[in-house]
Structures are given as structure tokens and as C-alpha cells.
């Protein structure tokens, strides 16, 4: 479903290279965890997948279902089913959360040539999905992400993901800033979306989240490259020994 080939990318503004020949392949139905120390390029990779303009791909390619997505803008990628759950969801005063959800769902449907949702249908879907994630209706009446606690913001991201039903979910440090209860709720939300035709890329610094979202594959990112891949036991190994051994072995 996702194939990243020899990807090189830099910060557009100052030319700093962050991703240096990254290769990664994720199949439909797979949950892949990307781990790595700070500054290894994890968040940059998530932004590049979503199409953020601040980064420039200088070499290599990203194929999604066999097609390059490098020329697509973020909204076109989203309409094709790519979803990024942000590490830091953005506050937008003046945009009501419900209005945002409705516009996003309907714009994606429009781009795919589907009919818009009726208001009752939309309301029903939001009500069901937010109940699953223990999101109070009051929260949805606020402007988008404004005044949300860290945990509320992360739950709101997962709510958007479950409503938009993407095919490729990229979770960028979704566990950061969550207490254990919130972590369980978020993990349950992600696990509910696991399906044979959907891939999930979990980017995380710690192994903790992977106790709840158990990955099929684990990849270690260091200095913009995947330096080691393995199954879920690799995550435990990292937790026990730290990154130093693997980095040392790869160097």
C-alpha cells in the first residue's frame, strides 16, 4: 500500500537534509511502528507523507497503491485516503469543530465523486464515533482544538480519523502527553480501525503505546534512514537496551 523508495528530503527554507535515503514498505492490513531517537526524522517523515510544503523531496519517491503522490497537495492526498494524526493538533479559533468535521467529510466525498452526507446522517456518525472515544458533546461545540487539553486534542484527532475512514493512517507521537487512561481510549480507537484493507503507521518515541497497539513490524529510524527492521520484539529490545546498541551496530 505504501512504498517509500530511497527518499531524500530537506527543509525548503534552509536546505537542511533530514531524510537521507529512506526505504520503507507497508502492506494493506499491516501496522508498522516507526521508532527512533529525537531528531531522527520521524515527524518530518509524517509531514512529508501528508504533503506539507515546508519540506522538499530531492530524490526518491513515495508510492501509494502503486502511484507516486509527490505531486499531490495535502487535500488531494487526504481525499485518496491518507490521514495524519498530528503530534500537535492545530488550534483554529473561529472555526467550529462540527462545521470543520462536516466540511472535511463532504469535501473528501466530493473529491471521490460520492454524494454529500445529509445533516442527520452526519450528526449520527459524529455522535456514535465520539461516544466510542468518550468525547463530550460540549467539546464539539467549541472552536476547533481551542481550549482542548492535550488528551482531548489527541482524542479529537482519532475522532477525525474514524469519521474520515482513511486507508493509510499515520499517527505522529499520538501517545505524547497522554495519561494511561487516555492512552487506552486512543489505542482502542486505533485498534477498532484495523482492517485488512487499511494500513497504520505508528510513529512513537516509546514502546509504551505499542503495548496497546501491537505492531506487525517495527522500523528504527536514525539520521533519516531506516537502519533496522524487525517484528514487535524489536520494540521490546529497544525499550530494554536503548537506541545506542542498534545505532552502534549500524554505524
Amino acid at each position: 500500500m505504501l512504498e517509500i523508495k530511497n527518499l531524500h528530503a530537506r527543509i525548503a527554507e534552509d536546505g537542511t537534509e533530514i531524510i537521507r535515503g529512506l526505504n520503507l514498505s507497508v502492506k494493506a492490513g499491516e501496522v508498522a511502528a516507526i521508532m527512533g531517537p529525537n531528531g531522527s526524522g520521524k515527524s518530518t517523515l509524517s509531514y512529508i507523507l501528508a504533503g506539507r510544503e515546508d519540506y522538499e523531496v530531492t530524490d526518491g519517491d513515495i508510492l501509494y497503491n502503486g502511484e507516486s503522490i509527490l505531486e499531490l497537495d495535502p487535500s488531494e492526498r487526504a481525499a485518496k485516503g491518507i490521514f495524519l494524526a498530528f503530534q500537535y493538533p492545530v488550534e483554529i479559533p473561529g472555526v467550529a469543530t462540527m462545521q470543520f468535521l462536516k466540511v472535511a467529510m463532504n469535501e473528501q466525498r466530493k473529491a471521490r465523486g460520492e454524494a454529500e452526507l445529509s445533516t442527520p446522517d452526519f450528526m449520527r456518525r459524529v455522535k456514535e464515533a465520539s461516544a466510542e472515544l468518550k468525547i463530550a458533546p460540549e467539546m464539539l461545540r467549541r472552536p476547533l482544538n481551542v481550549g482542548f487539553s492535550g488528551g482531548e486534542k489527541k482524542r479529537a484527532e482519532i475522532l477525525q480519523m474514524s469519521l474520515l475512514e482513511p486507508k493509510l493512517c499515520v499517527l505522529d507521537e499520538t501517545d505524547s502527553g497522554l495519561d494511561i487512561d487516555a492512552l487506552k481510549i486512543v489505542a482502542d480507537g486505533v485498534n477498532a480501525l484495523r482492517s485488512p484493507d487499511r494500513a497504520v503507521v505508528v510513529i512513537t518515541h516509546y514502546q509504551r503505546l505499542l503495548d496497546y497497539i501491537v505492531p506487525d513490524s517495527v522500523h528504527v529510524l536514525y539520521r533519516g534512514q531506516v537502519i533496522k527492521s524487525g517484528d514487535k520484539t524489536l520494540a521490546h529490545e529497544l525499550e530494554a537496551k536503548g537506541y545506542a546498541d542498534i545505532i552502534g551496530a549500524a554505524a
Binding site: G51, D73, S75, A78, P93, V103, A104, E107, A111
Partner: protein, 424 residues
Amino acid sequence: MNMQTGKTLSVAEAALCEAYDHAVGDLPGDSAVLIARDGLISDFKAAGLPTRRIEAWHYTDLKALLRSVPDVAPAASADAVAPLVAGSAVLSVANGVAARAASAAGATVRTFAEALADGTAAAGLTARDGDDAIGRLNGAFVRDGFVLDLPEGTEPDAPIELQAVQNGGQTHVRFQAGIGAGVRATVIERHLATGEEAAFATALSELTLADGADVTWVIQQAKGVSDTHLGQIRVRLGTDAQLRLYVVNAGGRLVRQEIHVEVAGEGSDLKLRGINLLGGETHNDVTFTVGHDVPNTTSTEVLRNVVFDRARGVFQGQIRVAPDAQKTDAKMSCNTLLLSDEADFSAKPELEIFADDVQCGHGATVIDIDHTQLFYLMARGIPENKARAMLVNAFVAEIVEELEDEPLVEALEGVIGAWLDKHA
């Protein structure tokens, strides 16, 4: 005579003087009105249109910007339109002439032409000071409008809409509203254009809030791309009076809206909120003065400006605090979203504080679309143009939502949304 004053009249100045000579015989009013009109036009002839050398007009050089004025009489008729808020009582002024009405939503109503004829209007035909070009022109030329009276004890059962629709030509309209003690009312003043002909308008409103009156007053200006609109509202607030004054400019080629507020009663509160949606070649000037003349009063002024294309915006805000107006609390902010390299906005705050125990502040910001917010919306599948429109809308919607009046909020959101659909 030009030679006597030593001044050369511009084309527009000459056209206005000539228009007065043609129109004066036909304008309504008793002899006191005629004397007032003649005095104002003679002051206008002497001073001419204001230039940038006049402080209050520094960013809007009317003499340079106003190249010509159309003939007095609009060529084609203008029809009333549906009110901004459904169910409002509409008082309609078509091409500067008011449709007769005796009452509206509980208010007693007369036309301003009647007030001019019966001698009650002459005293109001004044300029505020030597630089008040709008007061002069409106006083000299005013033909009609409405006088609205909501005495103590009235309970208006609907918003009142003062609707001026113009189809080219010149119109000079005046509204007067006296809001009695304790009366709660919503008044919507609209200045709209129909047809393609260039139009020139002056519009002057005089609003008095008696003790404890609680009023929402909205001025919506949506003139055409070649129109000139010179508006002014003069306000006086009594003790414990509350006024929410919303000014929404979304149209016109050359626009100046002046707001002059006298805070004359203790405990009163003014909330001025301005939304300026500027595109194309528009030059739009909002000039505000407030005088806090008594102790314990508050005012907040929040302006949100959105500037596209080659449009140019101006905000001048002056807060004066009299020596004995202790405990005044006044805050002014002017935030601008500049959306093109050729767009331009000038903001000038002026604080004149003569009391020592007051809180007064002002701030101005100029920003572009926040790219992180734009990316976030697009990452959820919202196309760029739609995402931009949402963010621009969010920038101005915040202050509309402060109005806790659902139908009015929806109506203003509709005005903003329709404008953004055309310009964003």
C-alpha cells in the same frame, strides 16, 4: 467666485456646488433649513473637499480620490430588498426618498422630509467642526430619511431595518433615532446599491440612547464597485446605556464611515465592532472618535479587516478621556489580514487622556494566512481555496459570534460568506 477665494475648485467640488444650485429650490425644508443649507454649502465652497493636509483626512485625500460626482437624480428606479434579518420591520429609502410610514415594530416614525418641513430638523444640519466634510455635504443636500422614536416603555417586537437602496445618481440620507430610557432595540442600517450606474451618497445618522437603553445598531454597507459612500453616525450615550455598534463594509469604490461617540452618562458601555471586507480597487476608511466625558464608563473597539487585490483600508481611532472621566476603561484593537502584495492598510490610534486613573490601550496587527492552520485543514481533505476561505471567515467570524442574537449572527455570517465566495 474662484478668484475671490484664490482657490481652484476640483471637478468634483465644482460639480457639487453646481448640483446644489440646481437642487436647492427643490429640496424640502422651511426657511431655517434653507439658511442652514446655504451656510453649509458656502463653508464647503470656502474649504473645498478635505486633502491629506487635514489631519483627520490624511489617509483619505478626498479631493484627490473623488474625481467626479454623478448628476443629482438617479437615472433608474431602485426597489426595496428583503431585510437582512427575516421578520424585521423595514423602513425603506429608495434613491434617497423615504416611503411614508407611521410606525415600525413599536417605534413612532416620521420621514426626515417631514422633519425638514416642520422646522424640527434645522438644528441638526450642522458640521461637527471645520473638517467635517460629510456633515456639511449631508446637511446641505439631505432630502429624506427617517426619524425614529422609541420612547420609554416601548418594547419593539422585531428588529427595525433602515434600508437605503440606490441606483446611481446622488442620494443624501439622514436617520435620527431616539431610544428612550430602558428600551432594548436592534436597528439595522443598510446602504445598498442596485444597477451599474456610478453612485454618490452621503448618509448621516444621529443616535441618542437615554438612560439604561440597550441597543444593537448595525451599519451594513454594500455599494457597487464604482460608488462613493460617505457615512457618519453621531452617538450620545446616557447613564448606564449599552450600545453594540457593528459596522460591516463589504463594497463600494471610495468609502468613508465615521463614527463619533459621546459617552455622556456614567456606567455606560460602548462596544464597537468593525468588519471591513476589501477587494478590487476599494478605498475604505473607518474613522472613529469617542469622548469619555464622565467617570466610570467603558468602551472596546475591535476592527477586523480583510484586504485582497489592490484594495486599501484605513482605520483611525481616537479615544479622548476628559479630566474628570476617572475609571474610564477603553481598549482598541485593529487586526488586519493582508492577502495580496498590493493590498494596503493604515491604522492610526490616538489617545488623548486627561484623567490619571484610567485604563486605555490600543494594539494593531497585520498578518497573513497562518500556514500551519492551512496545512491542517488541507490535510483533512479540504481544498486550498476552501480552506483559505474558512480561515478568512474565522478571522472575522469571531466578532460576529459575540452578538448573542442567533438570527442576526446568521445574517451577518451570510453577508461575510457571500462576499468571500466572490473574492477569496
